[in-house]
């Protein structure tokens, strides 16, 4: 398991709970950085005290700033950063739009399974 530090950007408290549960299950010592607003995640990425994360799990539909706006706003901060979209959106347009952003390396439906986590883990290991 190479995943050690994961940022989760999702407005839903219970979705955040689900991430925590499944990630802790695969690595009990995993370091989690949850944000319920993308604006706050962006602030963190821009702050000088930020520490690198292995992967960012990003929701699309969020208040104030949605996942796409976040990818747009954090273009420089996300260079060489792996981002995985995690969403309930069934709109194929959302998927193809996500693929136009270089950092986006995967697109998963909620809720994440342990299999999804292993795929993400391999992606990070290859980096």
């Amino acid at each position: 398991m190479t995943l050690n530090r994961v940022m989760t950007v999702d407005d839903d408290r219970f979705d955040q709970l689900a991430y925590r549960r499944i990630l802790k299950k695969t690595n009990a010592k995993i370091d989690l950085l949850p944000f319920q607003y993308a604006t706050e995640a962006l602030e963190y990425l821009k702050s000088p005290t930020r520490r690198p994360v292995d992967v960012i799990l990003l929701d699309i539909n969020m208040p104030r700033m949605d996942g796409f706006e976040f990818l747009e706003a954090a273009k420089t901060e996300l260079e060489n950063q792996i981002v995985i979209m995690v969403t309930t959106s069934m709109d194929p347009q959302d998927r193809s739009r996500a693929e136009t952003f270089a950092p986006v390396r995967g697109y998963f439906s909620k809720p994440l399974t342990t299999d999804d986590i292993s795929v993400i883990d391999r992606l990070v290991a290859q980096q």
Partner: protein, 401 residues
């Protein structure tokens, strides 16, 4: 001899023959240039009298024969006779040449006229061709426009049908979703109430979260149902008392008003043409939003008022609050479907309410805007039945006072 020919003056050739014979005789006898030029005069006279060159030759021969009958030939007389004749002939020669020239000129004129006529025909043909092609273009364009019109009419009706179907579909789906979610809520209720003693605190907390989620979903479905019903609704307008409607809505919201310690002040509102259920829904959404997004740090005061004499619409209603306000950057977004500014933990809601309000205002030829007020809260301004002219040109200054 001159007297003699007065009898036969009517017969030009004959009188001419005599004057010719006399002139010839004079020249033959006396010679000299002046007498020779008489030949010229005679011939011109002959030409004018339509005496042909053959006739001229004949009467010259007769005159010459009379002169020379007693003379030996050839003689100086014979030479003068020939000279005289040639002089006379030269007139015919000139006349013939002149005729030839005029024939050439005539031919040229005819050609020129033919060319001009051809040119005229060409121009006429070209004009006709252009008119025809213009005609065809106009016809083609008319056909195109007709086809375009038919196409857009077809698309419009398809769109209307699709809209209708979409609304029906959404309505059916939402309706069917409502019963399972209600069942889930009921089952969770049973677990938490009937089996409380078997559950630890974490378990109860999770059930609580599940119940909250279930009720959120139930609210969301209700919102979608409302929205779908609105989209599919047949427009039927009547006179509506906004004043009474607003006071009814305030009564409906009694529980929320008490919970939020809110005060709602309603200034007299006008009557307006509209759909009562829609306008009720509009006011209900605006008022419950004003209570929901109250600022915990100060009293929740809400004021509903109407512009006394709206300049460009039939009614302008403002709902002002002392709430948390809406940052400038989000003031357009809040009217989009499912757009929210807060997490569900902070404020409940489906992201449908303001979209619904905007839609309702739109059905009443109006709009809705949000501005921040002096108290730092929000003011939602609803305009209904905006003047046609104002909608065409929003920047136009009203002068209909």
């Amino acid at each position: 001899m001159i007297d003699h020919d007065s009898n036969s003056r009517a017969h030009a050739p004959r009188s001419f023959a005599q004057s010719y014979a006399t002139a010839l005789a004079t020249y033959v006898r006396d010679g000299n240039e002046e007498n020779l030029s008489r030949a010229y005069d005679c011939a011109r006279q002959a030409l004018q009298s339509s005496i042909s060159i053959g006739q001229l030759g004949e009467l010259h021969f007769q005159a010459a024969q009379m002169l020379c009958s007693g003379s030996p030939s050839p003689s100086p007389e014979t030479k003068r006779t020939e000279e005289f004749y040639l002089e006379a002939i030269s007139v015919y020669d000139m006349a013939l040449r002149g005729y030839g020239e005029s024939v050439a000129q005539l031919t040229a004129e005819v050609l020129e006229r033919k060319r001009a006529e051809q040119e005229l025909r060409d121009v006429t043909y070209e004009l006709a061709r252009q008119r025809d092609s213009l005609d065809q273009k106009v016809k083609a364009r008319t056909r195109e426009l007709q086809a375009g019109l038919e196409r857009s009419e077809r698309l419009n009706s398809q769109l209307q049908q699709a809209n209708q179907e979409q609304a029906q579909f959404t309505y059916a789906i939402s309706h069917d979703l409502k019963s399972p979610i209600n069942t889930i809520a009921m089952l969770l209720d049973i677990i938490s109430v009937d089996h409380q003693e078997h559950l630890d605190s974490e378990c109860l907390e999770l059930i609580d979260a599940a119940q909250a989620t279930a009720s959120r979903m139930s609210r969301m479905i209700t919102g979608i149902l409302q929205y779908a019903r609105l989209v599919g609704q047949e427009a039927e307008f009547e006179t509506v008392s906004l004043d009474k409607l607003c006071r009814d809505v305030r009564d409906d919201l009694r529980q929320e008003i008490t919970d939020g310690k809110a005060e709602i002040d309603i200034s007299p509102l006008p009557d307006v043409r509209g759909m009562p259920s829609q306008l009720r829904s509009l006011l209900q959404n605006l008022l419950s939003n004003a209570i929901k997004f109250r600022d915990p740090g100060r009293p929740c005061r809400i004021a509903v008022s109407a512009a006394p004499k709206p300049r460009n619409c039939a009614a302008e209603i403002t709902v002002s609050d002392t709430g948390i306000g809406i940052p400038e950057a989000y003031r357009t977004r809040i009217f989009s479907l499912f757009q929210r500014l807060h997490t569900y933990d902070e404020y409940s809601g489906s992201g449908i309410g303001l979209t619904l309000c905007q839609r309702i205002a739109g059905y009443h030829a109006g709009d809705i805007q949000v501005v921040s007020n002096e108290q730092g809260g929000s003011s939602f301004i609803v305009r209904l039945w905006i003047n046609e002219r104002e909608r065409d040109n929003d920047t136009q200054s009203g002068d209909d006072g």
